[in-house]
Amino acid sequence: MLKGINFLVMKELKDYFSSPLVYVLASLFSGIMGLIFYNYLISSNEITNLSIIDTILLPTFGAMNFLLMFIVPLLTMGQFSEEKKNQTLDLIMMSNLKPSAVIVGKFLSTFIVVFFLVALTFIFPIILGLSGFSDWGLVFTNYLAIYLSVMAYISVGLFASTLTENQIISVVVTFCILFALLLLVNMAQVTDNYIVGLIIQYFSIGFHHAHFSRGQLVSFNFIYYFSFVGFFFFLTHKSVEARRW
């Protein structure tokens, strides 16, 4: 199993880095993030720890999270849909690899790619550090939240790409699911029923993300993210298995 996952991860990484998509997305991502960070930095006229957090760091991370919601589906869109279209999924399914190993392999390789994508922004806190910023715990929890959210986005993206042979449909379905989850926060705010509001809120990624961005590590948030990823793993697995019927 591990050997198989390792084999697939290496193959997928090779695929990722030999296609132009990753480079286009990386330049787009780092370009936009750099611009956003620069703008926040310039517009913040008072440099204190508090003002850096409120006017630079949090808005930058918010923008990053939002941007990744677009970029991750673009990375995952072809993962299963292309393999289905080229029939290469059958090739893999005929080997001894289990569908779960295939899903984990694709998940990990995409995560590694996004890890390096996000790592391009590690320079932002370093720049802030040069001007005396020192709240590294907050930086850590924010990055943790970004990576956990990325895991959630990848799991949704992989699921959507098993549904179709068309990459565009796959990416649109991913957007739909992710934005629906994003909008749950707003929905929770307008409902009169407190309990229903609370439940809806707990389903939303944004609600759980918020704790991290304020520097809190709360156990139920971890549980939320891991069960979220697990749930979409399950759906993806079912969807891949359904091909046999």
Partner: protein, 308 residues
């Protein structure tokens, strides 16, 4: 060599709202080229996918000879367009040998067999369809399978490529059991020792080509040209002799095909009958049946029932 490599027993496959396979049974003998014939949409690909385990049957049994691996080439070869030929074959080999090495020919030998040595450094996306097909066939060989299943391997290729692929399949049949689907009867006739004919999810006939030929043609098939035949005479002939008539063209010179229902030679009885009725037999030619004939014969009843 008479042992069974693949055996299907009453396999049923139902897609939502459509019964694709209505309980099919046949055997593929070890070491043979088995042709799987049928019109498009007959259920050939479905059957092949069930044998390879890519699809599950709703009921029925598929048994594959103990421990044998299967190399499967679907209708569209499963290729990664941005890989090079050698890299792709290496990838497939690694993919299938994660647990253990299955031995067999080295990639170099396989590429040589399939005529790929010249293109091994080229990207698959830039190859012609014929070469892509060869890469597909090569990829079924890398894990040294006993059984090779090819789904319409020559469809859409140019005549030269078709010839080359056919030679390759013949070459492979020395060491492998091959199940080959096609809707080209001519091709099956050239390549296969055994055939199974499928139509609308039902097996129409299965067995050795020569046996099927015998069974179906029954006695003889004659092509007859006569002068002065009238339809009454022909009707009378059908009543008096154990024959069926096909493809009648009546005129000054009439022609028709005669299918004898009995095994013995009917030519003398036929010509003396016609002479008695005052017709002049211009030609009397015996036809041996090729697969085309067999196919027409076995699908004839089916099409009749549907009123085509």
């Amino acid at each position: 060599m008479s042992s069974i490599a693949i055996e299907l027993d009453q396999v049923v496959k139902e897609y939502p709202g459509r019964l694709a396979l209505k309980g099919i049974s046949f055997q593929v003998k070890k070491g043979r080229i088995h042709g799987f014939l049928g019109p498009n949409g007959a259920g050939k690909s479905t059957t092949m996918k069930i044998i390879t385990g890519l699809l599950r049957a709703n009921s029925g049994n598929v048994s594959i000879i103990e421990g044998e691996r299967i190399g499967f080439l679907p209708e569209n070869p499963p290729l990664y367009m941005n890989m090079k030929v050698e890299g792709y074959l290496q990838y497939v080999k690694n993919l299938y040998s994660l647990d253990k090495d299955h031995g067999g020919d080295s990639l170099e030998v396989i590429m040589k067999k399939c005529g790929l040595l010249d293109v091994k450094e080229r990207l698959i996306r830039n190859l012609s369809k014929g070469y892509k097909q060869r890469v597909g066939i090569a990829s079924t060989l890398v894990h040294n399978p006993e059984i090779i299943i090819l789904d319409e391997p020559t469809v859409g290729l140019d005549p030269k490529a078709i010839l080359e692929i056919r030679d390759l399949i013949k070459e492979l049949s020395r060491n492998h059991t091959i199940l080959l689907s096609t809707h080209q009867l001519y091709e099956a006739n050239l390549l296969c020792e055994d055939i199974t004919i499928i139509n609308k999810g039902e097996i129409l006939t299965t067995g050795e080509v020569s046996q099927i030929r015998e069974k179906i043609s029954g006695g003889q098939r004659l092509y007859v040209e006569v002068e002065g035949a009238r339809s009454e005479i022909l009707e009378k002939m059908v009543q008096e002799l154990p024959i069926e008539l096909r493809d009648q063209v009546l005129g000054d010179i009439s022609s028709f095909k005669v299918l004898s229902k009995e095994a013995h030679d009917i030519r003398s009885r036929l010509s003396s009958f016609l002479a008695k009725e005052g017709c002049i037999v211009l030609s009397l030619k015996e036809e041996t049946m090729d697969l085309e004939g067999i196919f027409k014969e076995v699908t004839f009843g089916v099409q009749d029932a549907q009123g085509n």
